[in-house]
């Protein structure tokens, strides 16, 4: 008889690309980030994450770079059978003006907390200005084969992702706590 082994994956407070739930975990050069302008003012970029245990998304976060401009919009998506971004889970983040250079900034989902069950997900980020700067992972060269994008538009209800668009891995994610 096989006895099941309980899975006890602790819920993290802050989940980002280089946390154990992020696809960039293990990217050795990933944590010497640099500031760069957002790639396209009418584009949504998706990054893969994995949710190992049920948790509550209370806030999205991103890392402002050396200059701020425009508004940031984020969302979370389930994955399709082939792993691509699929349906949006919950609501988009309330569109938020970038504020403060070289800091983490947070924004809450417009419809309140989002419950995430164990599954692969994609985190989407769009910025309305190419003057806006965000920090990108120092190990971004491999991002080309991980990220996807909505070639035009802000995070939609259902993703229609395509590949391409460069290799920027914007440092962003979500938090399961309201503060800090």
């Amino acid at each position: 008889m096989i006895t099941s082994v309980a899975v006890r994956e602790p819920i993290l407070d802050l989940i980002g690309p280089s946390s154990p739930w992020g696809a960039a975990y293990g990217a050795n050069s990933g944590m010497n980030p640099g500031s760069t302008t957002f790639e396209n003012a009418t584009r949504t970029v998706y990054y893969p994450f994995f949710i190992p245990t049920t948790c509550v998304l209370k806030r999205f976060w991103w890392a402002n770079g050396a200059a701020v401009a425009g508004n940031v919009l984020m969302a979370v998506y389930s994955a399709t059978a082939v792993g691509r971004p699929g349906a949006r889970i919950g609501t988009n983040m309330t569109s938020t003006a970038q504020a403060g250079t070289n800091v983490l900034q947070f924004g809450a989902p417009s419809g309140g907390d989002i419950v995430l069950t164990p599954q692969p997900i994609w985190i989407a980020i769009a910025v309305s200005s190419t003057s806006a700067q965000l920090f990108v992972s120092g190990g971004a060269s491999t991002a080309t084969v991980y990220r996807m994008m909505e070639a035009t538009g802000t995070p939609p209800a259902t993703a229609t992702p395509v590949t391409g668009g460069g290799n920027n891995w914007y440092i962003c994610g979500f938090s399961t706590v309201s503060s800090p």
């Binding site: 096989i2 994956e9 280089s18 946390s19 010497n32 800090p180």
Partner: protein
């Protein structure tokens, strides 16, 4: 056919140390490019470094990376995710470039997310630390607090996006390790 299961969840195995440097407990990725000795950034500054404890263990000792210098006093301890101190030990820093190990009261913890708190009272002694470009540490969940020389019973932590210093710290579950 009889099936023999491992006596623990192997995916949660972390060796004798649960820390912010090795895969077993770290919520950050290893970054040897920026690892080395660095003076404590501010007198009485407290860092809270997140670590994941994936199974129930007995925390027997704690360690931190030594750099150089013997001035000042170092305090290191464990906080739960709510910011309550579970255990700590005040230690005079040793002049060593290796690992400084301190005994603590055996404390059962996990599975959960914890924060290793570490404070130091002055700014000439060096410690082993990761110096990834800011805001890497903040993005990895590292928090901090201006303290008064020892670890408080309850953390009042904040995120500092400009800090490029994260001490390398850990919990030893092998009480005989020295």
């Amino acid at each position: 056919m009889a099936v023999t299961l491992p006596d623990r969840e192997l995916w949660s195995y972390s060796g004798v140390s649960i820390d912010n440097y090795l895969n077993g407990g770290a919520v950050n990725t290893l970054n040897t490019n920026s690892f080395g000795g660095g003076v404590w950034p501010a007198a009485n500054l407290i860092f809270y470094v997140p670590v994941v404890v994936k199974r129930r263990v007995i925390a027997a000792k704690m360690w931190f990376g030594g750099g150089s210098g013997t001035t000042g006093t170092t305090d290191i301890g464990i906080y739960n995710r709510a910011g309550s101190r579970l255990v700590n030990v005040s230690a005079t820093k040793e002049a060593t470039t290796g690992i400084v190990i301190r005994d603590i009261t055996d404390t059962t913890i996990g599975p959960d997310l914890y924060y290793i708190g570490m404070s130091h009272t002055e700014v000439t002694s060096q410690f082993g630390r990761q110096a990834s470009t800011a805001p890497a540490s903040a993005a990895l969940g590292v928090r901090e607090q201006a303290g008064s020389g020892s670890l408080p019973a309850t953390a009042t932590w904040t995120i500092n996006s400009t800090r490029n210093y994260c001490p390398v710290v850990g919990i030893l579950i092998d009480g005989a390790y020295a």
